[in-house]
Symmetry: C2
Subunit: 387 residues, 2 copies
């Protein structure tokens, strides 16, 4: 495969705004893996810290499914939620922005500033909707590479991310082996498994069958009346897979809304606290996320396979030649620890330095966002260990 | 709690049809836990083997969520599928019908012959639909007790079942301690966990939000156009939890319908085999099962808690005084093995003979229906060991 790098079009300068969302409009079209061409692509990104003179201190963070460029910082304009890795990224934190120039961008197909299905189609100015192409994790990474060019980052000190972010991390190392000095894939996989695809496809189905989905062209039909029920159901499925049996038992047990079921009888309207929790998360996502983006990114995750078109898994993994810290979570039912161990083992098998750290948390997949005290220190040590 | 037993109204006689579905219309109303009263209840049941002269060889099988009375035998009239435990139940099989008088009945709220939401309401002859009450596992068991009376079975040699069947098994032992000589709960639990409720509630939501659900009164609106999409989605969620990551990887991996994705590119219409499998199972259930029954039974499972109204879990479990064989499945993600071990441990703690057998299968929860060579022999030995 030929790596097609665009010329460097700009560089980050001291004095540029930091920790605020900025936009880069690409000066070239983007041809995606599925064969379509996006004529205009804009990337939303944020940076923290300062790029040093030889551009050797840049760290790229890759966000997960419904994340965005706002890895750190408060909620505010353009940021419906506080930074998703606020506890890990910042001055004096595990990924120390006094030391590293940290970058995070919204992925291609997203809905938090980077071109996605809700963006205007250049030919008619109306939302892409169903016209938005299938994109892959590789497409996301290729677009990030153009952002790196713009920022003047030829080679990342490290590329770090969990879940779908970890898929991007792995694709960075496989697609652009000379543009990374190290990688930290967390709670992720080299190839989406059948069970991961199964969960994703059920959520997709819930959205597709919502009558307000209208084949994906719901933006203009009744603004504000998209496939909310479907998206909410999809999120509820995901939310269960993001956590664990243990944590649900501890947090909710059999509590019912407004009292204890074990004391009382059985009523028709009784709702369990865990139901309320899931509905809360479903409804919360609807407020901040576009259903088409959810589908496009979900599909990219299904299609994630570092081996595709590269002569098999081992051949693909052999392209990873940089030190790797892979982090797994003991209670992760969605991206089980064995998938992280597989990354370590395959890399070690061809002589690459790869270390596996297991987070001992009951929180399931989401532990990489929660247990910062276990996730942060190994990352700090690992970043320090890379020349 | 007072156990309210109806008088014996009939007894099984040699010469009665066996292995065919029969019906018992109860001669008294059924008051359910939620406070409602069902004026007319009919029970669909099947029997295999012959009841001996002192009625000491009767074994009750309790079916799971979408099961029915057809535990053994071919598909045919009234039986859309072959017996769900065909490999375990029959002449010379693990539950030997040459020796045991085996009974299985469709649960209250079901749709395979026993009164449920699709049954005619006695006041107007139209389907209950949304008027069908909340029922509990205890309600199901109380109705089964009336069937036992009818058959002349005062005390079951054993009550056996997996998943929701196992919930009934446990309720039999707690509600009617003097009517069981032993029990075999399989891949089940004493109290539905928050995660089990979570999965169930997502399926319920998919059905409730299907526009064809019409609040549960869809039977007459457009016959044959019930909430099929919703029920199918609900089944897909369940189907993933019934199996395992391992088995999905082995069976489907990343195969796509009509070819291998890893060789080719990325297309918009590409479907993974695991998606086709889930849709197949969703559609198959729609052909044979009523969405309202799915909801009623699912709710009964959520409400399953042997402790409810009994002064706590330990107090409830102390009512179980008979030998118990509990069977767990190592790969079960829905009713994890620890729930079966808990049953054994709580029973042993108050001096009751309880044995735990673990099925070493990759098939997940459904292994109790699949790995008959591991499930059958311990049951045979256990049944033989009960005086």
């Amino acid at each position: 495969m030929t790596i097609d790098l665009p010329p460097v079009t700009g560089a980050w300068r001291a004095g540029d705004p930091v920790g605020e969302r900025r936009f880069l409009r690409l000066d070239r079209k983007v041809a995606v893996d599925g064969g379509d061409v996006l004529d205009e692509v804009e990337i939303a990104f944020e940076t923290w810290g300062e790029l040093n003179s030889d551009a050797s201190n840049a760290v790229l963070l890759c966000h997960a499914w419904t994340g965005d460029s706002h890895a750190a910082g408060r909620a505010g304009d353009g940021h419906p939620t506080p930074g998703w890795w606020e506890t890990v990224v910042g001055p004096g934190r595990a990924i120390d922005t006094d030391r590293w120039f940290v970058v995070c961008s919204n992925v291609l197909g997203g809905c938090q500033g980077t071109t996605g299905p809700a963006s205007p189609h250049p030919t008619d100015g109306r939302a892409y909707g169903s016209r938005f192409p299938v994109v892959t994790i590789r497409d996301m990474v290729r677009v990030q590479a153009r952002l790196a060019d713009h920022l003047g980052v030829r080679r990342w000190h490290s590329v770090i991310g969990g879940s779908m972010g970890g898929m991007q991390v792995l694709e960075w190392a496989v697609t652009f082996p000379d543009r990374v000095r190290s990688i930290v894939p967390i709670a992720t996989c080299l190839q989406a498994s059948a069970q991961q695809i199964a969960w994703e496809s059920i959520g997709r189905r819930a959205i597709l069958h919502d009558p307000n989905f209208r084949g994906g062209d719901y933006y203009e039909a009744r603004p504000g009346h998209g496939p909310h029920q479907g998206l909410s159901t999809a999120r509820m499925v995901a939310q269960v897979t993001f956590r664990s049996d243990n944590v649900f038992t501890e947090k909710f047990g059999r509590d019912v809304v407004g009292g204890s079921e074990t004391l009382g009888g059985v009523s028709r309207d009784q709702r369990f606290e865990v139901e309320r929790y899931l509905e809360y998360h479903g409804d919360k996502l609807v407020q901040r996320f576009d259903a088409n983006s959810y589908l496009v990114i979900g599909r990219a995750m299904d299609l994630h396979d570092v081996a595709r078109g590269r002569g098999g898994l081992e051949a693909a993994v052999k392209r990873i030649v940089v030190p790797t810290l892979t982090i797994g979570i003991v209670s992760d039912i969605l991206y089980p620890a064995y998938q992280q161990i597989q990354i370590r083992d395959l890399l070690n098998a061809h002589g690459v330095r790869a270390e596996y750290v297991e987070v001992d948390s009951p929180h399931g997949h989401d532990a990489f966002l929660i247990d910062f005290d276990q996730v942060g220190p190994p990352i700090t040590r690992f970043l320090d260990s890379i020349d």
